[in-house]
């Protein structure tokens, strides 16, 4: 038996496999396909203080080995989440983590405070990296000062595990990671989507209503892997890696690069049962290579 458990700050995960925000709904959407309790964690859809309708359709464009999205944080607001969704998901036997976003620091703080009052939510993932909203989101995540200011404010009101999701749309992601670590983040997750664009040449129009959107899927994996490697060398807090992970081998590459845990996102659309296959595949790899715990391969890249 190999030990698959990992720790992110004070948060214990039964294995390093989580789902990425915005790709797994509230978990319930996938309950027919997999046993949700087999996951290390589920990061639910981005939640904001107030209801958001999101961007206009069309919000999605397929690209080679990936897709662009421009959903724009559609959600019914934190109060609706607390009253109507939380009761449905609180007893799922895994870490239910809420991704929190906002247009201004006060929104982030108020949303994080409300989530902190929910007993069965042990952590939040602070989204300072959404490329699809006009205000807030990525605007905070693309400068060290902006990122630090949000984390500092939220840290004051949020006592549980605080994960900060980083934007790859920056010159030096490691410096942003260091800035949020200095303000008390317990962990950083990366990468959010890469800003991209798609054009319908026949119609001479953009394929997304917002013109630009966020690229995800298998095509972003090499970029994500490189950034996880850079950040893991720069910070002491645990790193959660994501970006194009579509198999156990992909997940293991992120662990070797220095991620303590991983998230699976767009691959859930291709195979709704991929998460448990990755859990099994990591266990098989560890056994085959004679490792006793998943921690032994974190950052074990030989160069």
């Amino acid at each position: 038996m190999v030990d698959l458990s990992v720790k992110i700050g004070n948060l214990g995960l039964k294995n390093p496999v989580m789902t990425a925000s915005g790709t797994f709904g509230y978990g319930l959407e996938f309950a027919d396909f997999i046993d949700l309790s087999r996951l290390g964690g589920i990061i639910v859809k981005g939640t904001t203080l107030n209801h958001r309708e999101g961007n206009l359709y069309p919000r999605m464009a397929e690209t080679p080995s990936g897709m662009l999205n421009a959903v724009g944080l559609q959600n019914k607001g934190v109060e609706y989440f607390a009253e109507h969704i939380y009761p449905q998901i609180k007893d799922i036997d895994t870490n239910m983590i809420v991704n929190v976003s906002g247009a201004c620091i006060e929104d982030y703080v108020a949303t994080a405070e409300r989530i902190a009052s929910l007993d069965k939510i042990p952590a939040i993932e602070l989204n300072i990296s959404c490329p699809n909203v006009k205000q807030g989101g990525m605007a905070f995540g693309t400068s060290c000062d902006g990122a630090a200011s949000v984390v500092k404010a939220v840290r004051k009101v949020y006592p549980k595990t605080l994960i900060v999701k980083l934007s790859p749309n920056v010159t030096d992601i490691a410096s942003i990671a260091c800035a949020v670590e200095a303000e008390g983040a317990d962990s950083v997750s990366l990468i959010n989507t890469l800003m991209g664009m798609s054009i319908d040449a026949e119609r001479r129009r953009p394929r997304l209503s917002t013109i630009t959107g966020g690229l995800s899927g298998a095509c972003v994996k090499p970029v994500a892997l490189r950034m996880v490697w850079q950040v893991a060398k720069a910070v002491k807090v645990p790193v959660i890696g994501l970006g194009g992970i579509s198999s156990a081998t992909d997940a293991i590459e992120f662990l070797l690069a220095g991620a303590s845990a991983i998230q699976i996102g767009t691959a859930n659309f291709i195979d709704p049962a991929i998460t448990v296959k990755v859990v099994d595949g990591i266990e098989e790899y560890l056994g085959r290579h004679g490792f006793k715990s998943v921690g032994e391969i974190v950052g074990a890249l030989e160069v």
């Binding site: 915005g22 996938f30 859809k45 359709y57 899927g217 659309f269």
Partner: protein, 254 residues
Amino acid sequence: MKKHILDMRLMANVQLHSAYALMKFVPVEGELPAMLPGQFAEVRIDDSATTYLRRPISIHNVVNNELWLLVRRAGAGTDKLASLAEGAVVNMVLPLGNTFTMPTDKNMRPLLIGGGVGVAPLLYWGKELAKQGIRPAFLLGARSDKDLLQLPEFEAVGDVYLSTEDGSAGEKGFVTQHSVLNESFSYIYTCGPKPMMQAVARIARAHNIACEVSLENLMACGVGACLCCVEDTVEGHVCVCKEGPIFNIDRLKW
């Protein structure tokens, strides 16, 4: 209704003409799960350099343990699918989405209006209506007679009225110009190109006829997780894959 991830074996691939294939699948293992008219399958396209996401395809018919899909070659993904050889194994997530509303009164006369490949879900729905003792009328439209699909199948289930843009079969013009619309119907169900469905919805509203449409927005996950396929309804943005694809026109902003 429980959703499944199933490997399906292609038993027959009938090229109806250059743009359409009728594909008949059986599960590689076990029985076909229960599914309702109007629902769809998310079909994985393997070994394609350009196709990453699954393709949502309407359930055209269920015959014993066989699932029939009517596939239009709309791009590289569906082209690859429609070209598969018999015996190929295709992975599907199904059944997804909601179903049509059954009329409450057995004496009601429903009209099922399909355009192009939009006729696909209407066969299975017509069969279900007939099973409940309600004889459906089908109004099927296409560019020309060679684009009319599955006519013997529809004729076996209900009354069939045709319209073609070039007049090569049935009445010349669009379905919305067909004389059968002057008759009295109590329910209209429609699937086809959006401008056609919007025109049908206008007629239904003008005559105060209940009307349901099957939407086909661009989709990624198919299960209501990614929020990409939203339709702007009177309740705000809702996922076509989960709350639809069948919508009463009263919910739409058309």
